[in-house]
């Protein structure tokens, strides 16, 4: 009798754990590609961006796997932004050596070489493939938008992507960025204006 009750309790527990596992896994599957692009816009290095995303995923599952699913987007974004900031902090420490190397002739020309489309694969959409002109135009638009986003100041980019791409509300964005709601609104407004200006300069109007 006791054995049956124990087995039932254990089975319930395992079912709950399995459901929880699937919830977190599908959340990460849903968010991982956007997280990678966010990291890419910030650090402009594919390997570093992948490391940042993996680090953020590990921290989420290690420390917050028992949190309600509704809290995961905000928590993950906060961890991701912190991981990006940590990357820049580490880079700052290394910059001493970079300065020494640049004095010896090394040139850090990542900015000139960076192309956001480098990480894009071949498009598999049959409609686009059947209309090469539309495909090219779409890729050009995408490229211009990505370059404009990469050029935004970091905090403006964070606020813009969290609000409009991750669809967090102002309060969640503020919590993820560790700032006030007023700051989020200011950053978003400035980001939108800056993006609109950059796109207009390229002859684009959204």
């Amino acid at each position: 009798m006791q054995r049956t009750a124990y087995n039932r309790r254990r089975s319930d527990k395992e079912s709950r754990e399995l459901a929880r596992y699937q919830e977190i896994s599908s959340f990460l599957a849903d968010v991982e590609r956007r997280a990678f692009r966010q990291a890419m816009y910030a650090v402009r290095d594919e390997d570093a961006a992948l490391d940042i995303v993996q680090d953020a995923m590990l921290k989420l599952t290690e420390n917050y796997s028992d949190r309600p699913v509704g809290e995961l987007p905000m928590l993950f974004q906060r961890i991701l932004q912190n991981a990006i900031h940590d990357h820049f902090r580490r880079q700052k420490v290394r910059s001493t050596w970079t300065t020494v190397l640049s004095a010896l002739g090394y040139k850090d020309d990542r900015d000139e070489e960076y192309d956001p489309l480098e990480t894009l694969g071949a498009k598999t959409d049959s409609n686009a493939a059947s209309d090469p002109a539309a495909n090219v135009e779409q890729r050009q638009t995408m490229r211009i938008i990505e370059q404009a986003i990469s050029r935004l100041p970091p905090r403006q980019r964070e606020a813009f992507l969290l609000r409009y791409w991750e669809e967090l509300d102002v309060a969640e964005t503020a919590a993820a960025m560790g700032c006030s709601e007023g700051s989020v609104k200011t950053h978003c407004s400035r980001a939108v204006h800056a993006l609109a200006e950059m796109l207009e300069a390229k002859g684009m109007k959204l």
Binding site: L28, R34, Q54, T61, C188, L195
Partner: protein, 131 residues
């Protein structure tokens, strides 16, 4: 630009960004998948170890089945290490208690403590035991 116009602009940009996400290279997608699997392995492993340790007493030990998994071995190694450390601590405490008893007897005895340093007294004690 008012709030509605800002939101509309943001949504349009987000649509383009969504398309760029759909076109990530297969190699990048694979590495992201691997990263996710590594993170999820942490969740599964953490729950398995904690569950196994919690249930060890109820089920009569971790021997039944859990050792087939790598984390079962890890739990066993941790238990053995903890047992060894515990024994060492217990042994040290025993020695301290023995010394305490000896000191207590010496201090409580009527015999002055300097007597134990006297060679003649030690010879007399040894002779007494031999008799």
């Amino acid at each position: 630009m008012n709030d509605d116009r800002q939101s509309e602009f943001g949504r349009k940009v987000a649509q383009y960004l969504d398309r760029s996400v759909d076109e990530l290279r297969p190699g990048t997608l694979y590495r992201l998948q691997q990263a996710r699997a590594a993170a999820m392995a942490g969740v599964a492993a953490g729950e398995t170890v904690s569950t196994e340790l919690a249930l060890a007493g109820v089920r009569g030990g971790i021997w039944s089945g859990s050792l087939r998994r790598p984390f079962g071995w890890l739990a066993l190694v941790v238990l053995i290490a903890a047992g060894g450390f515990g024994y060492q601590q217990w042994h040290a405490m025993q020695q301290v208690r023995e010394f305490e008893d000896l000191d207590l007897h010496l201090l409580a005895s009527d015999l002055p403590i300097d007597a134990y340093l006297d060679r003649g007294f030690q010879n007399w004690l040894r002779a007494g035991f031999e008799r």
